[in-house]
Symmetry: C2
Subunit: 205 residues, 2 copies
């Protein structure tokens, strides 16, 4: 059951993460077991336990993996022009590839466990703070270049994340195909109203 000598430990980690993704996709979070992950991995449960003591340890690693991958797709957004950059960030947050629906389901299950599992909560909190930071930065940049209205960028970043999280939750819970597209359109309308108002903004912002 030892890895072949030509494989590094990080190869195994990557394979276990991919196996976890397939097991989550097929069985869901509630029915996920180390046995099912091992089956997808093509090795014994001992081989999985060699890398991760418990299912929760493995799932925390999986959250790190997914959120890292998301961070990488965000790095693909290299435009620095504020309007285009904000559009592209919102696209990344709300335009999911077709096969992502099952991942959205598993992520909502894990998010719902955040109140009980501190390590899950930490990851979601950190990821949210990182994305908020990216949004705030592009908004502040746009304000400093007089492209955007001078708003409370911290609130606007949180408002946009509220729309993003609403779209993602609804994509899982409801029998509606356009939940992410609705959220994307809502984010656009919000950006147009709050950041591109010709006046100095209302007293609310």
């Amino acid at each position: 059951m030892a890895d072949p000598p030509d494989r590094t430990s990080s190869d195994s980690d990557e394979e276990i993460m991919r196996a976890t993704y397939r097991a989550l996709r097929d069985h869901g979070y509630a029915d996920l077991t180390i046995k099912r992950i091992a089956e997808e991995y093509g090795k014994s449960t001992a081989a999985v336990h060699y890398h991760y003591d418990t299912k929760d340890d493995l799932l925390v690693a999986f959250l790190d993996y997914v959120l890292d991958q998301f961070g990488e797709t965000i790095h693909e957004v290299q435009t620095t022009a504020p309007e285009q950059r904000l559009e592209l960030l919102l696209d990344k947050l709300l335009v999911a590839p077709e096969d992502h629906h099952d991942l959205l389901i598993a992520m909502l299950e894990m998010r719902s466990q955040a109140p009980y599992k501190e390590a899950f909560a930490d990851r979601f909190q950190q990821n949210d703070e990182y994305v908020q930071y990216l949004l705030r930065t592009v908004i502040d940049h746009g304000i400093s270049e007089d492209i955007f209205t001078d708003v409370d960028s911290e609130h606007v970043a949180r408002a946009l994340m509220t729309i993003v999280d609403g779209g993602r939750t609804r994509a899982v819970v409801l029998d509606e195909t356009e939940t992410l597209a609705t959220a994307r359109r809502t984010a656009d309308e919000y950006v147009n109203a709050v950041l591109r108002a010709d006046t100095g903004g209302s007293e609310d912002t």
Copy 2:
């Protein structure tokens, strides 16, 4: 274990629903058992099973109960003036009483199970359609009275529900106290921008 003769079946139902609420609040959805509900109910598990065959049957009844109660608080909104009525509806959707946080957690856990449990999915779907209907109706009323801009009320109702669901999800997942207040403010900004625009609205709406 039979109910005292002065109690009707609906008294028992109501008591079991309240016991379920307390059990959910204290143990969470994942650790909820009929035994724990029976303990809160102050009777045997058989007494609970007399009313509900399975835990899922009981939880579906609980969802009906919670969503009915929500419907009743909505009926308290008797104002018909479109602007005020929309404000009050959004208040009901996003201003949670203090002790509601644990219910929000349990509801998100159940929402995350919608892809696996059709009876859960049905309830969430019906409730969402009902609230969307209320929002659409008040928006259409405002449009017909020239108080609101002539927008796609179906989209605006969905956009507002996206903001509501985002606020509720974030209230559970994140260590932020103001998630519902942020969502409420975002909904106001959205309403101001989309429904109270002085022009006929942009091409997007």
